[in-house]
């Protein structure tokens, strides 16, 4: 039994020693590929993903028609269309199962990321063009969709594509299994694979520092009364993730200023309000 519930209730520590509201180590880099318009590498615990963004650029031949496996923006003829591809490496998980291009689960993730971006990016600024997001999963240990969303946000920022705000995501679970109606159940933040297999959980993605939910995916059975608690913890986790990502972007920016690649601000934003 990966998560010994009796141990948890005694020490209130999870299998990897975290408390209920601890995120795992989040490490991320921005602009990892010189050749790409935008790129990022992100680790949430042992879940490791990388992202490359191309565009906005002229659509490649054959990309125009909605091909299988690449989610396509619809009803947005006037703006850039967004194509998302997720490749899960065979070595990324313990079972080493190869997931083909037509795996519905992966296609669903592609569509989810594509639709989250479509509502957030200012695509209307780039008519007749395509933004291609390629995601590679190198290692899986839970919170996969969340990691993919976070990596995408970083890479899109790196590509300099205007957006409303960060979209950050994380998972939230509950220590009670679906059947148990016990009120003592604690919510948990940022689940690893073992916890995901054992406990009900959901993935939540929010916009910026707000409580607005862009993505919410739950695939396990859980009492509806648990939803609010899990959602609150998840939204709070997203805010934590946002602060971390924001720090990474700013750090990169300051480094670029120091190197002379980017000019400093003409003035301070704070002085404008006077």
């Amino acid at each position: 039994m990966p998560l010994d519930t009796s141990t948890y209730s005694l020490a209130l520590l999870r299998i990897d020693g975290r408390r209920w509201n601890d995120l795992r180590r989040l490490h991320a880099q921005i602009h990892t590929q010189d050749a790409a318009d935008g790129s990022s590498y992100l680790e949430m615990g042992h879940t490791k993903v990388m992202c490359v963004v191309t565009g906005p650029a002229e659509p490649q031949a054959g990309q125009k028609k909605g091909t299988v496996g690449s989610a396509q923006a619809t009803g947005q003829k006037e703006g850039a269309s967004i194509v998302v591809n997720v490749v899960v490496a065979g070595f990324s998980s313990v079972d080493r199962k190869r997931r083909g291009r037509n795996d519905r689960r992966i296609q669903e993730m592609e569509i989810t990321i594509q639709k989250a971006l479509a509502a957030n990016l200012h695509t209307h600024l780039f008519p007749h063009s395509t933004i291609t997001v390629s995601l590679h999963v190198l290692s899986q240990d839970g919170s996969l969709l969340a990691a993919l969303i976070n990596a995408t946000t970083l890479a899109v920022i790196d590509a300099g594509i205007p957006m409303t705000d960060y979209i950050t995501a994380c998972t939230a679970g509950s220590t009670s299994s679906y059947a148990a109606g016990d009120d003592a159940a604690d919510p948990l933040l940022d689940l690893n694979t073992q916890e995901e297999q054992e406990l009900p959980y959901l993935t939540v993605g929010t916009l910026g520092d707000s409580d607005k939910v862009a993505v919410l995916v739950c695939e396990s059975r859980v009492q509806v009364s648990r939803l609010e608690g899990m959602l609150v913890v998840g939204v709070d986790g997203c805010k934590q993730v946002r602060r971390l990502l924001d720090g990474i972007v700013k750090q990169k920016g300051r480094k670029m200023i120091k190197e002379g690649a980017v000019r400093r601000s003409d003035m301070m934003a704070v002085s404008l309000d006077d």
């Binding site: 205007p162 957006m163 409303t164 705000d165 960060y166 690649a261 000019r263 400093r264 003409d266 301070m268």
Partner: protein, 315 residues
């Protein structure tokens, strides 16, 4: 949980921030100002039901009178009228070419916007349209100027000057353009000729503002035509200018062209902007580096690149 290292780094940065608040980086969703006297420019938006100018990019703030914009840390090239760009022909259509200039959309080059062999003032004929591929075919590289911008942001190019046209006798390098970040920046001269070391003769460096770069052997005849004055120039427009055949290039020249290319890539890798000054000085440094070893190594990756960047920063 953050690892100790990055926490430590964060603290470092905070110290710096206090040192100079103009090092501040705006990120998407950051409110710049709620004061209504300012106008919003590129890289900003005003969220619904508010009057706050908010950043939509990661970058630094620029102010032009009352207009506030955010200059992105990095972005794709965004064409502006008058830009000197290097492009690659992607598609040949009936009366025009579609050219990759690293922008969001392919640029257009009309057949009426090029110099036709036999003089600028010659009237374009249907024969020209039929043999459109004899001027530029798919994959050809060219240098051109942005002539106008369409409503949707697509650019139209022209090559109606002897400075512009098909590119030969050199090597192509792609780096980031003027959209932001390290790469080519707009400067006084995008194109210059420099004396190569080790008897390599003269080489031309052409930094397209779109980040596409062409480094080639300098061909004297062009200069001669230039010197002959504008009228003669027109006459000298011969079918030669659309030749895809390289002139003879000495191995020594090739080595120096390659060295120059290494310098540019090393600059980009180490986050140094690419302009005439950095390239020229970097090249001179690289020549010195080369003298250190017998085999005159022109490779400038990794540590050697960092050394080069450090030498430039040291001034």
């Amino acid at each position: 949980m953050l690892d100790d290292e990055s926490v430590a780094q964060d603290e470092d940065d905070e110290d710096e921030e206090q040192g100079d608040a103009r090092d501040e980086i705006l990120t998407p969703g950051t409110v710049i100002t709620s004061n209504s006297q300012w106008m919003r420019g590129h890289g900003t938006y005003v969220p619904l039901n508010t009057s706050s100018i908010t950043s939509s990019l990661a970058g630094t703030l620029t102010r032009t009178n009352k207009l506030l914009s955010v200059r992105p840390l990095r972005a794709r090239y965004n064409p502006e009228i008058g830009d000197l760009v290097v492009g690659r022909i992607v598609e040949v259509q009936a009366k025009r070419w579609r050219v990759d200039v690293a922008a969001a959309q392919l640029a257009i080059l009309q057949i009426s916007a090029i110099n036709l062999p036999g003089g600028i003032l010659r009237k374009r004929t249907e024969t020209d349209e039929l043999q459109i591929r004899s001027f530029f075919a798919e994959g050809d590289l060219l240098v051109a100027e942005v002539q106008q911008l369409h409503q949707d942001g697509a650019a139209s190019l022209h090559t109606r000057s002897l400075k512009y046209g098909k590119l030969r006798n050199g090597v192509f390098v792609a780096v980031a353009g003027t959209g932001g970040g390290a790469g080519v920046v707009r400067s006084k001269r995008q194109l210059w000729t420099m004396e190569a070391a080790n008897g390599g003769g003269k080489i031309d460096v052409l930094l397209g503002v779109n980040g596409y770069i062409w480094i080639s052997k300098h061909i004297e005849s062009d200069a001669a035509a230039e010197a002959a004055g504008i009228n003669r120039m027109e006459e000298s427009v011969s079918s030669q200018i659309y030749s895809s055949q390289n002139n003879h290039i000495d191995v020594t020249t090739m080595r120096e062209i390659a060295r120059c290319r290494s310098v540019i890539l090393a600059l980009v890798e180490n986050g140094v902007k690419v302009d005439e000054d950095t390239v020229t000085r970097g090249y001179n440094e690289a020549v010195e580096f080369g003298r250190e070893s017998m085999e005159d190594d022109i490779y400038l990756g990794g540590e050697r690149g960092q050394r080069l960047a450090a030498a430039l920063a040291g001034r």
